[in-house]
C-alpha cells in the first residue's frame, strides 16, 4: 500500500474528479466570480446553477434568510435559459479550470429531453446533474421528484440520451430510498443526496412569510444529520451506486463523515458562499486524514463507518 501513490482523485462511475470536493449547484456563480477567490484547479468539480429551457427571472427579493445553523433560500432558479447558458456562462465556467457538471431542471419530460439534447457533444461538460425539486407541470404536483414514476421517467430519458455521466439530485425532506432505487434502475450513473428540503421563513414582527413560499429551501450546517442518514440508507440499499453527499458540509470532518457512510464525493454549497476557499481546504483536510490513516484514496473511506451499537432499538421484553 505504501508503494501506491496517495491521491485525492475519485471515480464516480467513470467520471474521475481530481478531488472529492465539488461546489454545489447554485453556489458557484456564473464563471468569472470564483476565479478571484479560489484556485479552481484544486476544486473537485463545479456544478452550474440549475439551467432551464427558457430563461427564468426567478423569485422577487428577498431571496435569503437565516434559521438556526441554516440558510433559507429562494432564488426561484433564476437562469438565462439553456441557449444563453451555452453561449456565455458555460464556456466561462469551463475555462475556470474545474470539471464542469451542468445542472438541468424542468417541469415536463420534454424540458429535460431538450436540455440534455442541447448539452450533447459539448466537450466542456463532464456530467449532468438532474434537478428534480421543481413543480411538475404535467402532473400538476408541487414537487416533481418526490414520485417514483416521474423519477423513473425523467432520469431514464436523460440517462439514455446523455453521452456523459448523469447524476440524479434527489429532493430532500422525503422518504428517499424508493426514489434512489428508481433513479438507479432508470440508469443514473450516480446520485446527489440530497437537494435542499422545503422550508419556510416567517417574520413574526411583520407577520409575513419572508421568502417566496413555494420555492423556499433549507441549506447549511443544520442539514448534516439528515444528509448523513440519507447517504447511509441509500448506500445500504445500493452499495455500488456512486453517491455525492450534499447538505451541511463545511469542514473536512463533515466530508469524512459523509464518505464514511457511503459517499464517494461531496458538494459544498453554503460553505462556499461563506468561505470560497472551503472546497480546497476541505480537500486538504481529507488528504491529511488519508495520511493519518495511511490510506491512499478517499475511496478507501467509503462506507467504512462501523456501528457503535447494534442496529435499531432493542427487542422488546416480553
Amino acid at each position: 500500500m505504501s508503494q501506491q501513490k496517495r491521491s485525492l482523485a475519485v471515480d464516480l462511475g467513470g467520471l474521475v474528479l481530481p478531488t472529492p470536493v465539488m461546489i454545489a449547484s447554485g453556489c458557484a456563480g456564473t464563471g468569472r466570480e470564483l476565479s478571484g477567490l479560489v484556485d479552481l484547479r484544486r476544486v473537485g468539480g463545479v456544478v452550474s446553477r440549475t439551467i432551464t429551457v427558457r430563461p427564468r427571472r426567478g423569485s422577487p427579493p428577498p431571496r435569503i434568510a437565516e434559521s438556526p445553523s441554516g440558510i433559507v433560500w429562494s432564488t426561484g432558479l433564476q437562469n438565462p435559459g439553456i441557449d444563453a447558458f451555452i453561449g456565455a456562462e458555460m464556456p466561462a465556467l469551463a475555462k475556470a479550470g474545474s470539471p464542469l457538471v451542468v445542472s438541468i431542471g424542468g417541469g415536463t419530460l420534454e424540458d429535460y429531453v431538450r436540455l440534455t439534447g442541447a448539452l450533447q457533444g459539448r466537450a466542456e461538460v463532464v456530467g449532468i446533474e438532474i434537478h428534480l425539486s421543481g413543480p411538475d407541470e404535467e402532473f400538476e404536483r408541487p414537487v416533481l421528484g418526490v414520485h417514483v414514476d416521474r423519477v423513473t421517467e425523467i432520469v431514464g430519458a436523460v440517462a439514455r440520451m446523455s453521452l456523459v455521466p448523469v447524476f440524479a439530485k434527489l429532493p430532500g425532506g422525503v422518504d428517499i430510498v424508493p426514489l434512489a432505487i428508481a433513479a438507479a434502475r432508470a440508469g443514473a450513473t450516480g446520485l446527489t443526496l440530497t437537494g435542499s428540503p422545503p422550508a419556510l421563513h416567517v417574520d413574526a414582527t411583520t407577520a409575513q412569510v419572508t421568502l417566496a413560499e413555494a420555492g423556499s429551501w433549507l441549506a447549511g450546517p443544520a442539514l448534516k444529520p439528515l444528509m448523513l442518514r440519507a447517504v447511509h440508507e441509500v448506500h445500504r440499499a445500493l452499495p455500488r451506486m456512486p453517491l455525492i453527499a450534499s447538505g451541511g458540509i463545511r469542514s473536512a470532518t463533515d466530508a469524512i463523515e459523509a464518505l464514511l457512510v457511503g459517499a464517494t464525493a461531496v458538494q459544498v454549497g453554503s460553505a462556499t458562499m461563506i468561505d470560497p476557499t472551503a472546497p480546497v481546504s476541505i480537500a486538504q483536510g481529507v488528504m491529511k486524514e488519508l495520511k493519518a490513516r495511511a490510506l491512499t484514496s478517499p475511496m478507501h473511506l467509503r462506507g467504512a463507518a462501523a456501528h457503535a451499537v447494534q442496529r435499531g432499538a432493542e427487542e422488546a421484553t416480553t
Partner: protein
C-alpha cells in the same frame, strides 16, 4: 477583491452606532465610495452567513493609511451585535472591497447626498471624494431621533447645506428624510443626486429625480448570501439598457450602486410595501379560521 484577516485598530461608539476601524491595506487601497466588505461570523454560532458592511472610510494616505472603517447598528440583529462587541486587537475575516462604487460626475458640480440612519456612513466617504474633486456637496440626513442621526457634525464639515430630519424632532426638523427631499433639491440646486438607505426611501428619490430629470445613483442593501456573485440571492429588478426587457440583477456584483431610473420599483416588494405596520395595530392580522 481580497480576503484578509484584519486586525481591529480601534472601535468607537457613535450615538446609536458602533464604528470599527480595521488594518486592511489590501482592501483600503482599492476601496471606493459605495463599496462594501463582507465580515465572517465566528465559529460555533447558529448564524452563519457573512455580514455586509458599507465602507465608511478608507485611507490610502496619511497616519491612517491602510485602514478601513465601517459602522454597525448593534440593534439590527445577532451579527451586527457581535460585531459591535469586538474590541481593538481582535481579528476579523474580511472580504473586500466588493461591488460597483458610485461614479463621480465629470461636468456637473452640485451634488445632493441623501441618506437615513447608518446608511449615511457610506455617503460621507463619497462626499469626501466629491469635495476632493471640487464638487459642491449638500446633504439630507436623518433618523428616528438624535442618537440615530449618524455624525451630523461630519455632515456639516463635508457639505454646504445640511438638512437633518428626525422622527421625534430631537435634532433638526421633525419628520422623515423623504419629507425634506423636494425642498432640499430646490435649495441646493442639485444637478446630481446620490442616495443610500431603505428601498422605500430610494424609490422616493427615484420618483423625485425622474420628475426633475436629475441624474441619480442609489446604493441598495438587498439581503445577500455571499457578496461576491456566487449565489444569486441579492436580486434587484432592473431594466435593460433600452428598457425593452428586465431581469433580476445581483446587488453584490451589478450593484450595490444602481441607476434608480432603471430599477423596477413595483417589482421590488420591499420598495412597493409601505413601512411595516406598527405592532400595536391589530389590523395587520386577519383572524384565521380559528378566530372568534
Amino acid at each position: 477583491m481580497k480576503r484578509v484577516r484584519a486586525e481591529i485598530l480601534s472601535t468607537r461608539n457613535l450615538g446609536a452606532y458602533q464604528s470599527l476601524t480595521l488594518v486592511a491595506p489590501e482592501i483600503a487601497e482599492r476601496a471606493r465610495p459605495g463599496q462594501f466588505v463582507a465580515a465572517a461570523m465566528p465559529d460555533d454560532r447558529e448564524f452563519v452567513l457573512r455580514r455586509h458592511l458599507t465602507i465608511h472610510q478608507s485611507s490610502r494616505r496619511g497616519g491612517w493609511a491602510g485602514t478601513l472603517e465601517f459602522v454597525v447598528d448593534p440593534s439590527a440583529g445577532p451579527g451586527t451585535n457581535w460585531l459591535s462587541e469586538r474590541r481593538a486587537h481582535e481579528f476579523l475575516d474580511i472580504v473586500g472591497p466588493l461591488g460597483k462604487p458610485f461614479s463621480y460626475p465629470k461636468r456637473l458640480t452640485n451634488c445632493l447626498l441623501i441618506g437615513e440612519g447608518r446608511s449615511v456612513a457610506g455617503l460621507y466617504f463619497l462626499a469626501q471624494e466629491l469635495v476632493a474633486r471640487g464638487k459642491r456637496v449638500d446633504m439630507v440626513i436623518g433618523g428616528a431621533s438624535l442618537e440615530a442621526v449618524f455624525k451630523p457634525i461630519e455632515a456639516k464639515r463635508l457639505s454646504q447645506l445640511v438638512t437633518v430630519m428626525t422622527a421625534d424632532g430631537s435634532l433638526g426638523e421633525r419628520g422623515a428624510v423623504v419629507d425634506a427631499l423636494p425642498g432640499a433639491v430646490e435649495r441646493s440646486s442639485a444637478e446630481v443626486v446620490y442616495a443610500a438607505g431603505r428601498p422605500a426611501l430610494l424609490r422616493a428619490v427615484a420618483a423625485l429625480c425622474r420628475t426633475r430629470k436629475l441624474p441619480a445613483q442609489v446604493a441598495v442593501e438587498e439581503r445577500m448570501g455571499c457578496g461576491y456573485g456566487l449565489c444569486g440571492t441579492c436580486a434587484v429588478p432592473v431594466a435593460n439598457k433600452d428598457g425593452s426587457d428586465w431581469d433580476h440583477a445581483r446587488a453584490c456584483v451589478d450593484g450595490p450602486v444602481f441607476n434608480p431610473a432603471r430599477v423596477l420599483w413595483d417589482r421590488w416588494p420591499a420598495a412597493a410595501a409601505s413601512a411595516p405596520a406598527p405592532r400595536t395595530d391589530p389590523g395587520v392580522l386577519e383572524p384565521g379560521v380559528g378566530g372568534s
